[in-house]
């Protein structure tokens, strides 16, 4: 039976643990870097998942699209007209066979008051289909119906945080003032996670017809949310919708769009842009820290080789060729990486659990993160051991043996 492989590994392990202080610092340098890397990566994944979950919770999954009035935005400011998106456009879009439903919306920030408490809040004029489009139902009471639309009823639904804001215990049936007019509260909407610029819990919904004729006094809408049939090619849908809107808005070829089409991908990219910048920055720090740990490993390896020079010379005298000496130290560095990687992984899980305790971020650990961190550890450890290993292989046994 061949036992040389196990003897070889045993020999390396014994040498590795023969200088525990040296090994401890090599391991520590790598472990700290890996903890940083793992933590940043898993928290980054967590942030992304949170955005995705938030989008999914408002029915902005892969089969959804948002069209917003006004185009050519520069730093958030519209450079085209904003009053061209009409309900007629929505009717035309609804005719497309892949469109499952369309929920137009008219928006304004208005003063809302009740018994001396006044707040500037986002008021949205919506259709009954809004509940389906946004997966947002009343917690108590009812939603806006066709009758409300027909009669341009002065009724409203309020976000979950509104009753607390106005100190109203039982808000159903209460009349609150919106832009100087009394609106009867017919329902309270269920809670939604915070997402975007406006808190879901602080919104007020009124019938779209009431909003357009009695509150905002405008015939255009601010946007429309579309849900597509499953399997719709979003790119194709975007192309067709753009064509319809440009034609209806009589835009010449040189003119830019006077609307914006927002796909879930675009929304994610906007919401995660800042997160990504921070992540890149943190990742750079982690990589710098890995490089520093690599340099530490290199120096400790040099010290180790210096200290073990007579033993290396002996190995060479007994028949180890330069390749075997290099292999010996590279395998040793591989073990350092594996041990550091595994311990770094466990400590990262521990650390991120602590982070998740104090922040809304829920770390995501996967085999991918583990493989990534092990790869980084192995790459760093092996790369930075290469130079010391080559130096070890060049030790002249003759010169060392004379000193004995």
């Amino acid at each position: 039976m061949k036992t040389s492989f196990f003897q070889f590994l045993k020999d390396i392990f014994k040498e590795l643990f023969s200088n525990k202080v040296n090994f401890f610092f090599m391991f520590l340098a790598l472990t700290i870097s890996l903890i940083t890397l793992n933590t940043i990566y898993s928290l980054g994944l967590s942030a992304k998942k949170q955005v995705m979950d938030s989008l999914a919770s408002v029915q902005f999954g892969k089969d959804a699209m948002l069209i917003i009035a006004g185009g050519g935005r520069i730093v958030g400011l519209t450079t085209t007209r904003r009053d061209t998106l009409k309900l007629e456009d929505v009717e035309e879009i609804k005719k497309l066979d892949f469109v499952k439903l369309a929920s137009p919306i008219s928006i304004g920030t208005l003063e809302v008051s009740y018994k001396g408490i006044a707040e500037k809040l986002r008021v949205e004029g919506v259709l009954p289909v809004y509940v389906l489009a946004n997966n947002w139902y009343p917690k108590v009471g009812r939603f806006i119906n066709e009758k409300d639309l027909k009669t341009k009823a002065k009724v409203c639904l309020v976000g979950a945080d509104i009753p607390k804001k106005f100190n109203i215990k039982n808000i159903l049936g209460v009349k609150i003032k919106i832009a100087g007019q009394y609106f009867k509260v017919i329902g309270v909407l269920e809670s939604k996670p915070f997402f975007g610029h406006h808190r879901w819990g602080e919104r007020i919904l009124i019938p779209l017809t009431t909003a357009q004729r009695r509150v905002f006094n405008k015939d255009y809408i601010e946007g429309v949310k579309l849900l597509f049939r499953e399997g719709t090619d979003i790119k194709m849908a975007e192309k067709k919708i753009r064509k319809i809107l440009r034609k209806r808005h009589k835009l010449s070829e040189l003119e830019p769009d006077d609307f914006r089409i927002i796909t879930p991908e675009l929304a994610i990219s906007v919401f995660t842009r800042t997160m990504r910048t921070i992540n890149i920055f943190l990742l750079a720090i982690a990589l710098i820290s890995l490089t520093i740990s690599g340099v530490i490993i290199m120096n400790l390896m040099y010290a180790n080789i210096e200290e073990k020079a007579p033993i290396i010379a002996l190995r060479i005298a007994l028949g180890a060729d330069p390749g075997k000496i290099v292999k010996h130290y590279l395998v040793m560095s591989f073990f350092i990486a594996i041990i550091s990687g595994a311990i770094g992984w466990v400590l990262s899980i521990f650390l991120t659990q602590i982070v998740s305790f104090f922040t809304p971020l829920k770390p995501i650990f996967s085999g991918k993160v583990f493989i990534l961190s092990l790869s980084f550890a192995t790459f760093t450890s092996v790369t930075f051991t290469l130079m010391p290993a080559i130096r070890a292989s060049k030790i002249e046994p003759a010169i060392l043996l004379k000193t004995l």
Binding site: D11, I311, L318, G319, L401
Partner: protein, 224 residues
């Protein structure tokens, strides 16, 4: 006819320290036959260790021809030299030179690690060697648990595990007391009687007396 195991022809070796060059070996000629036991004596700095390094393929001469077991070896590369060292030469050093974290048995098996495989038979052979050298109770002991004499016997077992044709010993009793020195030299004598060629460097005439032949080196050349 007895075969010549080592043939050195006009071997020179010099070292440079800064701009100054020292000629350590000045045209050494030497022939060692199989089953010889040669002692090389000389004062400190005479070049005896340098000569042993060249014979042991641990160093290369600047000029001259070295034929080991019928093969010209002075122009071989490091890998080829390592291969030959592993198969033809056994080393015994003054400071024993055992791997401190390995047991006596692991130390003995070390040269075989570089051959690519260690078999159960090799392990048996290593244990037999240790037993033959009186170390049956020290097989799993580490070097720091062994006396000087025991360490040197482990080193001898390590040198013998590969069945070398040539055993090179550099001051093998230099770190031993007189009792252990006698024991080690008795082992050498027995090994030589069993057919192993030994070249030993020493400055001790009493130790040199164990050899069949003695050569004295002075200022890089043999004077006797």
């Amino acid at each position: 006819m007895v075969k010549k195991l080592v043939i050195l022809k006009n071997i020179t070796k010099s070292y440079k320290t800064g701009k100054i060059s020292y000629q350590v070996l000045k045209g050494i000629n030497l022939e060692v036959e199989e089953e010889d036991f040669l002692a090389i004596m000389g004062a400190s700095g005479s070049g005896k260790s340098t000569l042993l390094n060249i014979i042991g393929l641990l160093d290369k001469p600047n000029s001259g021809i070295y034929i080991l077991d019928g093969q010209e070896v002075s122009k071989l590369n490091k890998k080829e030299l390592a291969y030959l060292r592993n198969r033809k030469i056994g080393f015994v050093f003054q400071a024993f030179y055992l791997v401190p974290w390995a047991t006596a048995l692991e130390n003995v098996l070390l040269p075989l690690l570089y051959r690519g495989n260690i078999t159960k038979e090799d392990e048996k052979k290593a244990i037999e060697l240790l037993k033959r050298l009186g170390l049956e109770k020290r097989i799993n002991a580490r070097p720091n648990e062994l006396s000087g004499g025991e360490q040197q016997r482990v080193a001898i077992a390590r040198a013998l595990i590969t069945n070398p044709k040539l055993l090179l010993a550099d001051e093998p009793t230099g770190n031993l007391d007189s009792k252990s020195s006698q024991e080690v030299m008795s082992i050498f004598k027995e090994l030589n009687e069993n057919g192993i060629t030994i070249i030993m460097v020493t400055h001790d005439p009493e130790i040199a007396d164990f050899a069949k032949k003695v050569k004295i080196i002075k200022d890089g050349t043999f004077i006797k």
